[in-house]
Symmetry: C2
Subunit: 477 residues, 2 copies
């Protein structure tokens, strides 16, 4: 029998349970949460390491693109198989084991992030990284994008919890970086090079994660402020007082207004201005220490906050958090198109960012709601536009480019936790010099000489606006 093409050869090697050619299945693997669809030739669901090795060996022999994928909740197109080829679906790899004596979690890439923390908490440990997608995103993708979350300022991002990775080099060789040990100083650190490389430098088949002792208690506080600058000054004062909040979320007036328009009522005792700017703060630690810190927090907010509320129960804390959780979707009240840019700025530039987004709103007529992680400077700046109004699309495209330029000018970063994928590729050269990109590409060529692994991502400018968005409802919609 003569094998006419690489995909047929793969099918013959691994069988139809592993190599799926069905069009609907391939379509489902053709995009991620960015909804930029590129059809792969096959969807591959490897059963074990041997299958992965065979896929990569064949891909190298025939120069077939291979795009690793988990749940597909990436917001940047990082999991779209831009150049076709094979999608390597790791979402079925769901083993999770916690070593309670060592305080470590052993995970396969398809484990849902929230499940890691849930299992850890049963044993008195916790896994702090909590991207807002934690109930459906998978840890392999969290590692590939170095996902963040709300607790990053106090506890760090995904990178800070990955002790070891194992998997395959693009060439198909099995490797392990780091170990299930809390210290390790041997050879070059390719573990952290893989983390955040968005599936372009290796295929992760296993990880060891560090756990922390679960905090004894948590307390939630909601504060409202007359405007954004007062709220952000208050957030800096909280950091300045070394209160070290485990969460400190900021919501601007535009974001809050969307949520209130959905019918949510804020549990403030006093009358407050309509649609104020908010801070949502969580303190964690020993119960006594929290009470002490809560007193200091309330005193610090005197003269700053219009209203201050400590959640009196778990249910009330849930209500407070719902303000934050609901605002992202509530923004679609404004318009059906939303650009969500997870930029980072240093504390010194917060006021300048607010001025810029308000000026942008004024000038373009597009809403620019902002919320985000005030303690680490990672703000989600949104630009809202009507998809069917060509002029608004053009304005939004231009506005994003302006925003990115401004962010870098303010000493910031174009992405704090989503990564570059496809959608941020036009801005990469704002962030990095040619020497820096040259060094990155030299590493890519050194590790992936055939250029098979997730090609076209991060470095090649991609014109998002020229591509139709797939109209589908995803599990998290």
């Amino acid at each position: 029998m003569s094998l006419t093409n690489p995909t047929e050869e793969l099918l013959a090697a691994l069988g139809a349970d592993v190599v799926i050619l069905d069009e609907a299945a391939r379509f489902g693997a053709s995009f991620d949460n960015a909804r930029l669809s590129f059809m792969p030739e096959a969807l591959v669901r490897p059963r074990d390491e041997d299958d992965v090795a065979k896929v990569l060996a064949l891909a190298n022999r025939h120069s077939v693109p291979v795009t690793p994928r988990g749940a597909g909740s990436a917001t940047t197109g990082a999991a779209s198989p831009l150049k076709g080829g094979w999608v390597l679906d790791m979402s079925g790899w769901k083993n999770l084991h916690i070593d309670s004596d060592a305080g470590l979690a052993y995970v396969q890439p398809g484990v849902v992030t929230a499940d890691i923390n849930a299992e850890a908490e049963k044993l008195g440990w916790c896994y702090p990284p909590d991207p807002s997608s934690h109930k459906y995103c998978t840890i392999g993708g969290n590692i590939a994008c170095n996902a963040g979350g709300m607790r990053a300022a106090k506890y760090g991002v995904t990178r800070d919890f990955v002790m070891a990775l194992e998997g395959f080099l693009p060439t198909g060789e099995w490797v392990r970086w780091g170990a299930d040990l809390r210290k390790y100083a041997s050879g070059y650190n390719l573990r952290d090079l893989w983390i955040g490389s968005e599936g372009t430098l290796g295929v992760i088949t296993g990880a060891v994660l560090k756990l922390l002792p679960k905090p004894e208690a948590r307390a939630t506080f909601l504060m409202s402020f007359s405007n954004e600058k007062v709220a952000l000054e208050a957030s800096r004062a909280i950091i300045g007082a070394r209160l070290n909040p485990s969460i400190m979320e900021f919501l601007d007036r535009q974001s809050v207004r969307c949520t209130l328009d959905e019918g949510l009522v804020l549990p403030f005792d006093t009358e407050t201005v309509f649609a104020p700017a908010l801070l949502l703060v969580e303190l964690d630690g020993a119960a006594d220490a929290i009470d002490l810190a809560a007193g200091r927090l309330e005193a610090l907010m005197k003269g700053r906050a219009v209203a201050f509320r400590r959640a009196k129960s778990v249910d009330e804390a849930e209500l407070l958090w719902s303000v934050r959780r609901k605002c992202s979707k509530a923004m679609f009240r404004i318009a059906d198109g939303k650009l969500n840019e997870d930029i980072v700025i240093p504390p010194r530039s917060q006021d300048a960012l607010i001025d810029f987004t308000l000026e942008l709103k004024e000038r373009t007529g597009l809403a620019t709601p902002i919320f985000g992680h005030a303690a680490d400077g990672n703000f989600h700046v949104h630009i809202m536009y009507r998809r069917r109004v060509a002029e608004e699309c053009a304005l939004a495209e231009k506005a994003v480019a302006e925003l990115m330029g401004k962010v870098v000018e303010l000493g910031g970063a174009i992405s704090g936790e989503h990564g570059i994928g496809l959608s941020k590729t036009p801005f990469l050269r704002l962030q990095h010099s040619e020497a820096e990109i040259g060094a990155m590409l030299a590493i890519k060529r050194a590790l992936d000489p055939r250029g098979i692994l997730n090609p076209g991502k991060i470095f090649e400018p991609f014109r998002v606006w020229e591509h139709e968005i797939v109209r589908v409802t995803l599990p998290w919609d």
Copy 2:
């Protein structure tokens, strides 16, 4: 004028204040704390980035080895200019600025590590990494070796605090990896590739370090145990109880005996067995929370510890810590030759390590005192021998190789915080597969095509025993 060699060309370009040819100065730069001397052709003390760029440009043009260096306290020979060439002495680069609003320290590579924490503490922050050399080692070397210290299990190692690095690629191009931001997800992470690469992939000229709020209080506890295994079981129970100690140092009976022989008296209320195994524990956090945890710790030690003591004052805490601090030097009471291996093992293998070292002592007649960081498994295993007794040297050489093999067999790491340098090169291939080392070397070639930066380190097996040790007294002796 015709320039006859690269060093003369460098001298002509930078002047005699920067390019030092004096033999005594070159000899001082010819070794580090491992005392393996290789004479460089010049000692270069760059004044600014321009000087560094010129050094690297010339070194690339003429293929001259360049070895970056700070205080030279490395224990592995990492800063020895093995292949001659030029030593790039960064120890004079001492700028230190703390941004108290952002909780960040901006440092040049020559800043002494303890000074960073001292300055941070004045502002209510702290810099936790505390290698035992912190009073004289410099931060550039800490970053190059990913230095650890006693507080790593709770707070992490140097890597966990480096937000950004700037400096030069081996080719002489200026780059910056990361930013002074608490989140960053753009492009490949070469920051963490530089960290721990022992000066072989780049020259660090500046770093931004994350600070943590200074703990409100600290408390010190000393406990003695009848033998090593009981002490280590107790350390695992402390971790199991989620007490999360900021320090948990273990000392075996051999180490303690050396210290007691120096005349130190342990402040135990009760009679204890002579030269017991010890745990030294520090708890930090809110004062009330510490008191609570101290009660739990004492209850947990009932039936485990022979004696339990909480330091009643800062002075008494100092006395307790002196047991740990003095034991390394006190070991020279046993013999004048000491091999100090900073191995790491997982909790499950602690008993097997103790069995192995006691068996090794029995079999070889060489003392094998161990102390180290019980919370992160990073133990300093020593092999003591008399330098002038050829038979003991041969036994010690063989014993180290056996130890390293055993450590890897037990799921451990050959280095937790010192790195590989020259002295651990014979064991690198115990830790890493050929595929892993191949990937590391591919990166080295991609970033340093002329192979000029700190050549001969990490990857090329070096025979320490064939080299005479320089007999000098260093600042920290």
